[in-house]
Symmetry: C2
DNA sequence: CTTGATTAGTGAACCTTTTCACAAGAATGG
DNA sequence: CCATTCTTGTGAAAAGGTTCACTAATCAAG
């Protein structure tokens, strides 16, 4: 048994995205070379990444787009709908609520929370805003969700994360600049745009390219 | 001369962020071990990363927070203000315009563009919206900027990128899902939240943690 | 001045990840 | 049936990064 590199798992999402594009274009068959060109990757890497999870191709032929896409979705756990709960319906939160591509890729917001009394009870992008304190109630009903999206102000982030964890949620997409302290069994993905900006600054200043080939 | 790992450069931004926090707390001296704990990194890695760019510490003592911070800013090219130009003042664009931490870290928007005639000429977050076609004019005046932030609809992204490149801009922070085709000497950083969500899905489904230790 | 405790800087070992190169399987055309 | 052309799957080599372990420098206390 081989140890699967974390980064290989991340790349599966990239491959799936491009396979979806091929599928929408009616393409039925694709080779690792062609897919690699689309993704900006190395064909051997694609083959190796896929090999960690099984044999999905046909030698001398290539990969059947639809079959591979479904296989990848199964591996990644995205052959289902994932429900998102938004915390902090400010500038960023509103943009996230209105981001149609989430739904297209199987992510739907089922709940939104804010501590601002003026916001609670109102509708934003067709979603009624609840109070953060009510998370345990909301989670029992149709507002139940699997992944928390944290977009509150930085000062309330850790506090809010605690509440999320206490409510039994095990995954947080964290847009705040705070390094969250959570139990071991809770997964956190930190998103920080400024780090990416710094990479651009360095590249512009020194002329040496430190940008990342693949989206993150 | 050693080749500097790309990822080491990225980590400098992380170190700088935590040094800034120490500085704000009035801490004057820090060891690689202490900084490593804060960043969730290995102390040897910090020392090695810094060593790529010079000798910033004092043996037996540690690093003077302020000195190291300034040195890192110089290395990264962030000891100055960088001007940003926004393309696409939609949901996401508005959130970005209103994101105060950009300014705090030396990034300021000096121009914003949209193709929507109703938006052009109006003010969003105190910024007057220009027409994308006018980029070459705007860049000659006070709206001049160093880095383009691309947040248009996906269908217009490539087209808009071309215009940006033609106007002489060499760096793009790309929020659209499009893989931009640009000349070799133009740096592009792609931001894609859904990839991060997929990592959470995989972790939740398999129980094996593929989230990234450091923000990206 | 000497000893002991710290801590940066660094070559080397170690580990991970990427890329290469080729065998094995599949289709096509004679 | 055979030769040719593709293309996957994969062991092995190469490249890239991380961590170890030690040396050199600094400081404080006796
Ligand atoms: N705006 C951006 O482009 C951007 C980019 C990157 C990161 N961020 C980060 O995202 C977060 C939100 O940014 P923003 O620009 O939307 O800020 P914002 O001030 O517009 O919105 C914050 C919202 O969170 C709500 N809130 C505060 N505490 C809460 C709690 N405990 N529960 C629920 N809601 C709570 C506030 O009432 C407010 O509506 C910040 O931490 C910011 O650093 C923003
Ligand atoms: N909203 C989000 O949270 C989010 C998250 C990740 C990525 N994105 C991506 O960011 C982009 C923008 O998202 P959004 O939700 O703000 O969409 P939006 O539809 O709200 O805004 C798009 C804006 O871009 C403008 N535009 C189109 N072509 C233009 C051009 N050539 N020059 C200047 N302006 C132009 C449109 O007029 C519109 O105002 C999309 O590509 C989307 O996929 C959005």
């Amino acid at each position: 048994m081989h140890k699967i590199p974390n980064i290989a798992v991340i790349r599966l999402a990239l491959y799936a995205k491009h396979l979806e594009m091929l599928h929408n274009d009616g393409v039925e068959l694709v080779s690792s070379v062609k897919l690699a060109k689309m993704c900006g990757a190395n064909p051997a890497q694609i083959r190796k990444d896929l090999a960690y999870f099984g044999q999905f191709g046909v030698r001398g032929v290539g990969y059947y787009v639809n079959d591979l896409l479904n296989a990848l979705k199964e591996v990644m756990g995205t052959n289902r709908t994932w429900r998102l709960g938004l915390f902090g319906v400010g500038n960023l939160g509103k943009a996230l609520l209105g981001f149609e591509q989430f739904a297209q890729r199987g992510f739907i917001f089922t709940a939104a929370f804010d501590k601002d009394i003026d916001l609670v009870g109102t509708e934003v992008q067709g979603m009624e805003i609840s109070q953060s304190e009510d998370i345990k109630e909301v989670i029992k009903g149709p507002g139940c969700f699997d992944i928390a999206v944290l977009a509150t102000g930085a000062d309330r982030a850790q506090d809010c994360a605690m509440r999320i964890v206490e409510a039994g949620i095990h995954a947080i997409l964290n847009f705040t600049p705070v390094r969250l302290v959570v139990p071991e069994n809770v997964f956190v993905e930190n998103v920080d745009f400024t780090v990416r900006l710094h990479a651009l600054c360095y590249s512009l200043t020194t002329g040496s390219d430190v940008t990342q080939r693949h989206p993150r």
